[in-house]
Symmetry: C2
Subunit: 512 residues, 2 copies
């Protein structure tokens, strides 16, 4: 058995059964092994950042890692920005990256690059396989590290470690569960909550599922603490009948206003909030200067269990179930962020997955969809745009039978539009709503924020109108059905139609 | 004056007048400065790898660097693979990459990443600006380094070094010309050429212009040396009336056969040839085991001058001008690589720029176009596919009035198809010929080469037919006129039509 085959067998033994692939020459023995050993579903992407972003989306909805298969050096580089996003979201991914044969690499052939350095910049676990014999245990360790810490592992596979004989498949390596929070930490947070001073409880990561939200709401109800989630999150379970949670606003002034007056911030499975960017003359911290930060559970700890323990220590009563409320009516009139949100709230189907990369136009979407049918809400967590279409693609692979609705800025969508082809190829139930304002609206706002008046050069750099992108043609060109909506009524009709059919659909919503 | 304005003024003083941009929030003060200070043409790209590849194409035809403007962290990551290609081509580029404010970065906001590490992996000169006062001289040094060594410089610009007052524009910094080769080196190579043993003379880089080719041919004519260029090159001046030079074949067996029997290899402005990949059971070196490698001129030395000195030392007679030969007839019949080359040879307009990323189908293009009108031939030098459309875009910006013809595999084109939008926006005279075989044909060949029979998983990973990419729609969707050619006659008609009009045009040539 060669190294490649031992690698495939090890991945299967360690429950990796999905591969998002954009392979090259140095990965051919691995591809041949995937042919020989059934058990891994291969999903082809036409660009690496589609593959890495799809692995992120897949892991969010399945709670287990997919693998990516990437070409040496620059192939990995093409997938880095969505790996950055996945790292910030604490999503497990196992990258298998081909490389030059060990004896060939010192000759510095043209494709040779700093594969190991690039891998290390986004991975918590990185290794270059040294021999066919070790590839199996290397791979098992890679999966173990990714699953135990919800992080990214990258195994670099020189082609001779793949083609040489002597491969030894490894068994399933055990996964370390998240560690428990000390009871003294729980008690300390309980004291803060009983202090009578204003407290905000910010919960993130795995606590944004139904159980964590229930416990957090019990605590807030018993203590008057202000409940919040970070601005961007991996996955929030929400909609009718689920406990609602507001997000910390993106805009720095609004974030500061939200936290004003807080004396204590208790963090659960998230980091202390930091503004995305600094601005001249704006506060350096989002928190009031006299606020104290307390950590109930770090991201690598069991935040849900810690919230339950805290609720118990505070003797928080159980909450009454939320009353069912009817979905809102469809919106009509002008196409505003709030109106689109209202239409979405009316039409999001039961158990849908919403991928929100709506950037500037979409600030009303999250607050406007609390009353939609129960659904999951996914956001890009690393700030690198171009994550939405891949996330939607991977989520649909991981959750067949659920409709994925991707709310996507037109500027952002252009970074990874190749995702549409994979959606068509795999007949994925993804509805992409392109919010077509034909500009980098967020940059226009940012330029004004720094005190400048946009002149012709700046306006030209933010303008996507010359020429106009035609998203219906861009979708058709990749085999995806598509139509344009100029009114809220057309949007509603197209959303309703796409919810009823199988396979991908793209709606270009003209918002300007 | 703030740091950003001093940066713009310094770049202009150092003859940088073209910027390929995909900016983000942290670059807004720089954008505002570009508004205030005229002198730099900004070309917007909708994806970073388009911007970096375009800067490569621009520098190849103008022989001076453009700048790129990229967003912090992942923005740079999205442009790395074409910077890798540019590094391998020894092309000067000056990257300006925004970053978090110096005091904000330690808080690790979400977009923070290893910007400096990523920059260093592709740049010969990397610096993080430390203050508004130093930004001007930093930028002048960046340009100086890029121009003096024909390499990539990256200046990382924390946003406060951009917005703070105190900027000091720097003057023009002097450029170091390539160093001269020692006369003892020239004499040593002359002795090798006079030895009577079989010698190959491999010339690359700047020696592939008309003067270098003339001198190399004089040497070959006088000594019987075999003349060769590397497989992939920055720019070759060729066509009717110019001295022809064959390329070392890409396929390892053909490369070994080409160099069989050679006892001495003399290198001029290129590296000793290495196969792109290693293969089990194939030779590790392309050269015969008993061959000796001699270096006449390293890439950082003046290869053209060295060739002239060597020709003089060998008393090589001047060559008769090449006889003018008529262009070939248009091809007809089956669409083969050779037939397409014949049609190209007939229709390439005078002084055109050919960008060749034709991958598997295009192996006949270079040898089949020696008799075309005089033109420049550009290739991707780093092996990372997705360089062709950006190279063509940047070359057209740098050489207005010249037709650019981009010969492009369909798989490769998908990596950076956003280039078409920039071509439409800037009305660039680029004809893109998509060689549409609807598969990763090179990978199918590579898999067979490693001894495997492609099974269903592998075939599926190489297949771009489910669904078929429609390049006419993908071009239209970005504002580029396009049409499909199913025959050689249609190809000839469309090439002729596109040569006559202004602006971009895309031809989808169905080759399977």
């Amino acid at each position: 058995m060669n190294g490649a085959e031992s690698l495939v067998r090890t991945l299967i033994a360690n429950e990796v059964d999905t591969c998002f692939a954009n392979p090259g020459t140095s990965e051919m023995h691995f591809v041949a092994a995937l042919d020989r050993v059934p058990g891994i579903r291969c999903v082809l992407a036409l660009f690496e950042n589609v593959a890495t972003g799809a692995a992120d989306g897949y892991a969010r909805v399945t709670r287990k890692p997919a693998m990516t298969l990437l070409h040496c050096g620059p192939g990995l580089a093409n997938g880095l920005s969505n790996l950055h996003n996945a790292r910030r979201a604490r999503v497990p991914i196992v990258n298998i990256v081909g490389d030059q044969a060990t004896y060939h690499r010192p000759l510095d052939p043209p494709l040779t690059a700093d594969t190991e350095g690039w891998a290390g910049s986004v991975s918590s676990w990185t290794r270059v396989a040294r021999s066919a014999e070790a590839v199996g245990s290397d791979a098992a360790e890679a999966v173990q590290a990714a699953r135990s810490s919800s992080t990214i592992s990258t195994l670099i596979l020189p082609s001779d470690t793949s083609w040489n004989e002597g491969g030894v498949p490894a068994d399933h390596f055990p996964i370390t569960p998240p560690s428990s929070v000390a009871s003294s930490t729980v008690s300390a947070c309980a004291r803060v909550l009983r202090s009578g001073e204003p407290v905000a409880l910010m919960i993130g990561g795995a606590t944004l599922g139904q159980r964590g939200l229930e416990e957090a709401h019990r605590i807030a109800a018993a203590t008057g603490a202000k409940l919040l989630a970070p601005t961007f999150n991996r996955l929030i379970q929400r909609g009718r009948g689920r406990r609602p949670i507001p997000l910390l606003p993106y805009l720095i002034d609004n974030a500061v206003a939200t936290l004003a007056g807080i004396r204590h911030l208790i963090l659960v499975d998230c980091l202390s909030p930091v503004s995305f960017f600094a601005y001249p003359g704006k506060p350096r911290s989002l928190l009031p200067p006299d606020a104290t930060v307390h950590v109930l559970a770090r991201p690598e700890e069991d935040g849900v269990e810690a919230l339950a323990a805290l609720a118990a220590e505070l003797s928080s009563p159980a909450l009454a179930p939320l009353p069912g409320s009817p979905p809102p009516d469809l919106a009509s009139g002008r196409i505003t962020s709030q109106a689109v949100a209202q239409t979405l709230a009316a039409l999001i189907p039961e158990n849908a997955i919403i991928v929100d990369e709506s950037v500037s136009f979409g600030f009303g979407f999250y607050p406007g969809t609390y009353t939609a049918a129960p659904h999951d809400w996914l956001q890009s967590c690393g700030g690198s745009i171009g994550d939405g279409l891949p996330l939607a693609t991977g989520a649909a692979i991981g959750a067949p039978g659920r409709r994925v609705i991707n709310l996507e800025g037109d500027g952002s969508a252009m970074y990874t539009l190749q995702s549409l082809w994979t959606q068509a190829r795999e007949s994925l139930d993804v509805t992409t709503v392109i919010l077509s304002n034909r500009k980098y609206a967020i940059l226009e706002a940012e330029l004004i924020k720094v005190g400048a008046t946009p002149g012709p050069t700046a306006l030209d750099l933010f303008d996507l109108q010359k020429p106009t992108l035609n998203w219906v043609e861009l979708a058709h060109g990749q085999g995806v059905e598509a139509a344009r909506a100029q009114t809220l009524e057309q949007l509603a009709d197209l959303l309703t139609a796409s919810n009823r059919r199988n396979g991908p659909f793209l709606i270009e919503l003209c918002i300007a």
